[in-house]
């Protein structure tokens, strides 16, 4: 074995020197290079993971907001439809009511107008009759050429009224 090692040039002092040298390089790189780099990697990894988690959270919140928004819109649409329907119903009822009121008012107006016309007619008829009686009495007095007494006037007026009434 020793002969084999010697053939390959292995000498323990040189071997030990190489071992020590390699361990020194390993220790220095581990402490001052890889440790720092791996710490930076870890920090970056955590930052990326946090970023991804936040992005996921935001995405989830966005999806929830979208659903909530859709729900609100749907509800608003439903409310709007209901309000429109109620307004339409209310409007129909109001129109019906106002129409009925208008019809009723119109009927009242017509009725009052008829009554007024009847009264006016009666008053005018009465006036015409009164005028006619005066006219008949005056005409009779002029035709007869005499002054009619109170009794004659009463009788003549009464007969004229009866004639007009007939």
């Amino acid at each position: 074995m020793d002969q084999l090692l010697t053939q390959f040039g292995i000498a323990w002092p040189k071997f030990a020197a190489q071992v020590i040298l390699f361990l020194i390089v390993y220790a220095i790189l581990k402490k001052f290079a890889f440790g720092q780099i791996i710490a930076v990697f870890e920090q970056r990894r955590r930052t990326i993971e946090e970023g991804q988690a936040n992005a996921e959270k935001i995405k989830k919140q966005l999806a929830e907001s979208e659903i909530r928004c859709q729900e609100i819109l749907r509800k608003a649409n439903a409310d709007a439809q209901r309000i429109i329907e109620e307004a339409r119903t209310s409007s129909d009822a109001s129109t019906q009511k106002h129409t009925q009121q208008a019809i009723k008012d119109a009927e009242n107006i017509i009725l009052k107008a008829n009554e007024s016309v009847s009264l006016e007619r009666a008053r005018m008829v009465a006036e015409v009759k009164k005028e006619m009686v005066h006219l008949v009495v005056d005409t009779t007095a002029k035709v007869a050429g005499k002054v009619l007494t109170e009794a004659d006037q009463e009788r003549l007026a009464s007969e004229t009224s009866k004639q007009l009434a007939a």
């Binding site: 040039g9 390699f22 361990l23 390993y26 790189l29 780099i37």
Partner: protein, 286 residues
């Protein structure tokens, strides 16, 4: 032993000290040319890592960005093999292995590495026998050192992760969910399989280190051979000069790829070894 510079020189298996002595014991025997290159590579890696991580900002500069990209890529790759439960513990060592091997392999391709040093004049010119800079992964001491360090950590992580009982059960235990008489009957078989498994584990440092060493050493030898091909074929000097520059070019690109590949293979094998011994039963499907 005069000092000279040539384009390349064939490596020997032994990594000589950079302070050769003609009398008695050499000065600082342990400081071989590959140890010296290891120091250079280590210094470069540490300097670059510090440059990249000294003033870290949220929006990284070019150096920080490059280093982060490398580390992130390695982290993801290692995590996909060893699992999220182990990656934090094992990442630093595996990443150090990968970066160290990769930089060492590519450092070996720099002009002057393996071709600047001490030697003597030969039949075809100056022959460097003791280069000042030797590719450190072309030295078994280095590759075996990395493999040995890894195996120590591997044993520690395996035992602390699954416990001694589960670790031994993982090796010697009856697998396949067998119970009752069937399990009892198969205990000797799985004990034998466990012994084979232990032997294979014991050879892991050698297989890891020899694979890396062999590839890099062969690559260096290949480049050296391509550079000196004209001389070996005894071609005229002008042709030899042209060939010594043009022929190695494709092999340099090959060695760049091999350097990356070997670093990746070493790290991936280490990751797989960790995964095999630290995966929990429910995850491994045993």
């Amino acid at each position: 032993m005069p000092f000279s510079i040539i384009l390349a020189s064939a490596l020997t298996l032994d990594a000589p000290t950079i302070f050769p002595s003609s009398q008695g014991e050499p000065f600082l025997e342990w400081l071989s040319n590959s140890v010296f290159v290891s120091v250079c590579v280590a210094a470069f890696i540490i300097w670059f890592a510090r440059q990249a991580t000294k003033n870290m900002t949220v929006v990284p500069g070019p150096t920080q960005n490059f280093f982060e990209a490398v580390v992130q890529g390695l982290y993801d790759l290692i995590e996909s093999i060893v699992g999220a439960h182990m990656v934090a513990r094992v990442f630093s060592l595996l990443a150090t292995l990968f970066i160290f091997i990769l930089v060492s392999n590519w450092f070996a391709l720099l002009p002057g590495v393996g071709s600047v040093g001490w030697g003597q004049a030969g039949e075809y010119g100056f022959n460097v026998t003791a280069p000042l800079l030797r590719p450190t992964t072309a030295d078994m001491n280095m590759t075996l050192a990395m493999a040995a360090v890894f195996m120590c950590f591997w044993l520690y992580w395996s035992i602390t992760e699954v416990g001694v009982k589960n670790f031994l059960n993982h090796i010697f235990g009856v697998k396949g969910g067998l119970t009752g008489i069937m399990a009892l009957a198969l205990i000797p078989v799985f004990l034998f399989v466990g012994i084979i498994e232990v032997v294979s584990m014991a050879f892991r440092p050698m297989s890891l280190s020899l694979r890396l060493f062999g590839n890099v050493f062969a690559g260096e030898t290949l480049l050296s051979t391509m550079i000196t091909l004209g001389k070996d074929l005894k071609l005229p000097a002008p042709i030899d000069s042209i060939l010594s520059v043009t022929i190695p070019i494709p092999f340099y690109f090959l060695e760049i790829l091999v350097g990356l590949l070997q670093a990746t293979v070493f790290m991936l094998l280490c990751s797989v070894y960790i995964q095999l011994s630290t995966s929990h039963d429910e995850e491994a499907g045993h």
